[in-house]
Subunit: 228 residues, 2 copies
């Protein structure tokens, strides 16, 4: 269950108002886009005053959180289907990444806005912030499943780091996707389809003696950074 650190409203009435605002926002965002939708219009559409809208969402950007939580939830669901079906590592990785693209597709425009928010280090919405620790852990756990349920043989030192590295890979894919203006984000699909088998090959290669040295360096660096 993904709750994105929005405080749970106390009374049923509050919940209802909150819902009305979120729904109105989603509707208007979809129709007219984020920038051209004003907080005043959202409040009107929801049948509340402007001030009241701000009582529930302390900024326009906070409304985007609603989308984010939705996507995370749906991604976990879609990914679990893939993970139940596939055992080959490359297929599992490709499937989970693709699932993200499927789920997030309708929200591509808002992803940009969300990124804008997330990019600020001090923001609680940042994927690296303490407030995001829960959702982040969930995503990493997803990639732990990708590895553990698979046929992948990989250098032992790397195996424990892999889920977090794959999560980072997803962040990279998402970044690419956010900037992908091709129709249907076709280019990101190409990226995922190409990257998954490549990561598979690379990962298996880590057991070769020549390559293992670099892997040890990498793992060592990760540990140092985590400590520091």
């Amino acid at each position: 269950m993904t709750t994105v650190s929005e405080p749970a409203p106390r009374t049923p009435k509050a919940e209802q108002t909150r819902r009305a605002i979120v729904d109105a926002a989603m509707r208007l965002f979809r129709e007219g886009g984020y920038d051209r939708t004003t907080m005043r219009a959202i409040a009107d559409e929801a049948g509340v005053s402007l001030g009241n809208a701000y009582y529930y969402f302390s900024s326009k950007e906070h409304l985007i959180q609603a989308y984010y939580g939705l996507v995370l939830e749906q991604h976990a669901a879609a990914a679990s289907v893939v993970l139940a079906e596939e055992t080959a590592f490359a297929a599992r990785l490709r499937g989970v990444l693709s699932a993200w693209l499927d789920v997030a597709a309708p929200y591509q425009e808002f992803a940009g806005k969300f990124f804008k928010n997330a990019a600020e280090p001090s923001s609680p919405l940042s994927p690296f912030s303490p407030e995001s620790a829960g959702p982040r852990e969930e995503s990493i756990a997803l990639y732990r499943q990708v590895v553990e349920g698979s046929d992948l043989k990989v250098a032992k030192a790397l195996r424990e780091e892999l889920p977090e590295l794959l999560w980072l890979l997803q962040m990279g894919v998402v970044l690419f996707w956010v900037y992908d203006a091709s129709e249907g984000q076709r280019r990101t699909r190409t990226l995922v389809d190409g990257v998954a088998p490549m990561v598979d090959r690379l990962a298996r290669m880590t057991r070769l003696p020549v390559v293992r040295g670099v892997v040890d360096d990498l793992v060592g660096l990760l540990h140092t950074l985590r400590a520091g």
Copy 2:
């Protein structure tokens, strides 16, 4: 020479005014932060009218772009010192990345705000935007020098792609740096010191027959993506 696609001012007087505005903005941004610095205050500080400030910079964001251009300029200068001294690839890479950290250090806190605005795909500040094409090419050219002036032997197919990949690496380092709250951004230093020799080892490894397959896949993928 870094011209950030801002139209080059024709007269010396114009250049002077432009400079005054940028300088004032940088000063105020550093003192009070981006959000709390108004365009009026910038215009006042620069001794020009508000309208004149907008004559030179069509939005507040465009001012940041000018700042970014300054950092790029200084980076190019600092990097050229390193490139004149070192021939070993790892040292050149580490030096150029470190030079960026040196140059950008005074602005680290401000960089968060910058990133917030740059992260949005539609923003002209985005490193992938058409407006940033010039600076982007210059940065990539810097990494072309890193490769070409070095002792690096690398799979031929990869050699041409390497500058752009190294530029991407820098983007990653910058991202890490923006989030790095350790004093003096010590952790990012550690990252750079660790990553440079690792990239060196990896790059040399690409000539091994086992590894070359993956490299070809990578290069193929890059070409596909670029075409698409």
